[in-house]
Symmetry: D3
Subunit: 242 residues, 6 copies
């Protein structure tokens, strides 16, 4: 397996050669937002970037630097959170796509670590379909339900993943030094009738900032899931780019 | 000197405490763009982030993750370059400011590594002056002319710094492993009459992507300049935040 | 049960009195888009409006006219479809909210008949939370999964509802004269790996425009589900407005 | 005379066929705003939609659903009124035009029931002239002055039509059940010098919300005028679409 | 009668004093567009500015410099014409209003020389009514119909004034050296059915660029009309500012 | 030397002929802002317009009317100042470019009298490079440093020119009747550390509104500099337009 071709570490000449070799670029998209008492604010960055780097290693695609901010409206009152307006997330994604197409990139892959960015990725991708002659694909833990069902013990909170067994396991696999296991908690807040139907949001419900059971997380689960996701994503990229 | 309080490494609780201790946040702003044959595309990221981290260590301010993209229109046709539209750079800066003010940050410091972001920082800061009750300051190598005059041997290309003795020296001080000294060049392209007066830009003039004489760079110069900049910036922050 | 207080049928005096009696307004939001060979393009309008009217009858809330267009990007190439840009859907919703608050409406309820409008409703509602001192709630078949599981026989296509047993049954309950049962079909197109990860969309997969099994639809199922939804929605509104 | 081909009542197949038969689409544009003590808030909807439907019957054009909101700034403080920002009215019109052109519509006709939408229609139409290879025409009671002069007894209030003999007669012809003749009034408010020269608007002058003499309205006048308008509009459409 | 207090001729101190004496500011708004073979492109500038200056002399209001561009879409293909997008005209007007209110101006008066700017003035004024605690009034030949009827011999072309007896007379009164009387023409083009109902515009109809009969113009008519307009406008300003 | 071909003084026919003769258009861009106790608010207008007119005389280019407002944020609290938002300055410039290209102009030259407009000109020019097949050049005292060094005695305030020896001399050459020499002052305010790094701006520092030494100004210096600038600019235009 080759080393990831990270643009920020490469000269213009190396970038030109890398694009010529395999004209696919990967943009990791994260968020800076609370993830409970046991995980750092950068979880979504570390996961997006970690996965994207491994994908770049596997596929030979070039790796763009990580957008470290996303749409984090729900947590905006918790210290450390930074939230971009959703149409600004779209705007940045679109600018990146319009940039890389100029020098021969033939496909852009968005690798997202933060659920609430998915819609912005979708909207940007659709608009780009009319603007550019370059396909864009956006990935957020493909086949997640099946893979979680296989490896995670605890239930999700209504399908939500946030600072839970899932994310904590992935962090233990990728950035164990940033996980304070002793503070991992379990919280399944009651879901009020108006949740998902009003401005009442995740940010209002969980005291700990955890949705699910982070105490069940292990590095082993994280590694296994990670490999499965990477297999999925690698296959998607190779099929999409032909 | 303390360790930098990096948001992405901290939990929400640590973030809350850090803001309570010293309610100043630093946002590094970089760019992903060509820097000649000897420097990586991420120069402006590494410099902004490296300086910001040291400033955070010195002052106790919290450190936000780095915005890795800026306004890089002039280099947009060179492989590896990513350029945001300038008003999107403003938008992201403003969103960050509107975010951090919500949980008690009392001053935001923008640390920029890329000349062409300066205007966006200025415009954003002025608009924020009307929108928020939180001062914003933006820094790009304060006192640069004097400090360069003291430590650099080569002339600038009309005051421009790009992949030159100055930036290369700073990279040698902060990220020497990413500098390929053997490829450092010297280029002082002729400046056509229409430069700065038309869409003819930096991207059209220098063959090597260097403006100045990168062969004169040394790590020692870089370290000395770095310390001088840090002294300046630390003083500015402490005076501004009282 | 009272007659729905429809703004478009009322004078200004009647509107004033209705708002004074129960200061809640309901805005139905539909779409104009293909729904297979057996259902009319206006399905999402008829369902949103039909449900909203019954809700207005039950609660005494005032009924606004229906926005007949939504975000229908995926079907935009099928004759009859009209698609607004998603941020225009947001803009119209926000303008309606800013309008009704001026004369004493204390809560706005969005009743949506089209899945792809949900995100625009969510974004608009969140922005309005900062702009207005009036709560907004948005409803799209609350408790849908449970209710469908109870009354529908056929599987959904990956959770999607479109021109299927579910929507067809509701149409048979509300607008039977517009359903051509003899043309109802069943289609579960294969889901390509890139679906939900690229600009490949619903519009590219189903030949018939149906996702699921419309042949299983009955008016009886539709009526039962409708009543359950109305019970849910009535309760939500009454709890939200206190 | 054929039945109007209403998109919302038609399947995709019927829509395709209808467009193939006569590729002209009609979009009625209304408003939700006060119309005095005797007329409902939906007058501009009922008139636009009623006229558009008859036009569709006469010409064979397809009928889009009615946009029920317009630019109603002047009445925004009267209960029941909903006002979109004028550039949002433009945006919606433009989105509709960009939608229908995709599947073969060759001309879009806007049928407006609300004076204050005229400018938005004009601006949208002009911008669309540069964006699409499809003509757009916009109609608001063509030849109104001549036709009113022939059939109406009362003077207009400075050329304004609003809840007056004209609109009330048309409503009596099209929706008599929604007209409360016993509450019809006559009001010719004084026109202050600053009217039409400041933010002082219609909404500030008439106590009753009527501009003119609604007591003179009859269904017969309405029917006669309606037929004349329809003759005019039919001719315009047929001449414009050749 | 005093000399007009023109901002561009005054120092900051004189401006401050002038605003203190009479805190009303006048902004002339013109256009640069064709006006037939006998009138210069700047007609709307000269008329707006000339009238505004005399108003400033009469009232003591301060005079801002003239915005020389307006919304001139209809003439955009005739050499010399410059057209701003209509929402940019609004934006500039709003910026001027937001500027002058900061230093004590209590009323802003827009004096317009170009019909097609009227809507932008209206929209801007309404939005400003919500944003500023300063009234704005906008003037375009008040009482025009009556005054034209009294002094002009020729008919208008459907109420339109453009390069006709009216405008030419005013130019003969204000800028006779720029009128080439020998080239004045008379043109009453046929008005096609689609005029005012499509993108067919003034720019498509008149060969000479004149709408009406410029040959009937005299300086005397211009002077008389001018004085009547000035009387009207002076009175409006004095009544509005109390 | 010919008379400047000013669009506002020309008929459409003359404009067409002038464009055919030499298809270059000049747009002067000024500002309305304080310039100390001795200079009028319109300095940047008079200088831009005066220079542009002479350039038009020398080159035969057509002269557009002057945009009298610019981005004057820093002085917005001083009476008489008008400031447009910077992106509105860009918008107007772009609209002018899109206008003149329609009838055969082959190059647009922006002649600026106000430093703070430079960035808007640069951004507009770059965007126009992608939108139009017409070059745009923007000029602000080319070769200023060298020319000032040759003719001015006093130092600038950190390279800034504002109401100083430089601008005052140019005004004495072009509009002496508007200069009150007896009020000319000298001010070199202290530059606080946060200047250029925060919202602290020019507007906060100089008491007199002068930056430099206006007492050293003479008409002779102004004339000499003016001629040098005109020589430079003429040469630039002729080289750029071939």
């Amino acid at each position: 397996m080759q080393k990831a071709k990270e643009f920020i570490h490469m000269t213009r000449d190396e970038a030109a050669q890398a694009v010529a070799e395999f004209p696919v670029a990967i943009l990791p998209i994260g968020a800076t937002e609370q993830h409970g008492h046991h995980l750092p604010l950068g979880v979504d960055i570390f996961l997006a970037e970690g996965i994207a780097r491994k994908l770049a290693e596997r596929t030979g695609a070039v790796l763009l630097p990580t957008l470290p901010f996303g749409y984090s409206w729900v947590w905006r009152d918790i210290p450390g959170t930074v939230s971009l307006q959703q149409h600004h997330v779209e705007a940045v994604i679109k600018d990146v796509a319009h940039s890389v197409v100029r020098y021969g990139v033939k496909m852009l892959v968005l690798v997202n670590g933060h659920d609430a960015n998915n819609t912005s990725m979708k909207y940007a991708t659709r608009e780009l379909a009319d603007e550019l002659d370059m396909p864009v694909i956006y990935l957020f833990y493909p086949n997640m339900e099946e893979i979680m069902a296989e490896f995670c013990e605890s239930e999700t909170w209504h399908g939500m993943i946030h600072a839970c067994e899932f994310e904590t396991s992935l962090m233990l696999a990728l950035k164990p030094e940033l996980v304070n296991v002793s503070k991992a908690t379990r919280e399944y807040p009651e879901r009020p009738k108006l949740y998902g139907k009003s401005s009442i949001s995740l940010g209002d419900l969980s005291k700990s900032g955890v949705y699910g059971d982070a105490t069940k997380a292990t590095a082993e689960k994280g590694e296994k899931m990670l490999n499965r996701f990477l297999d999925e994503m690698e296959q998607i990229i190779l099929e999409a780019y032909k």
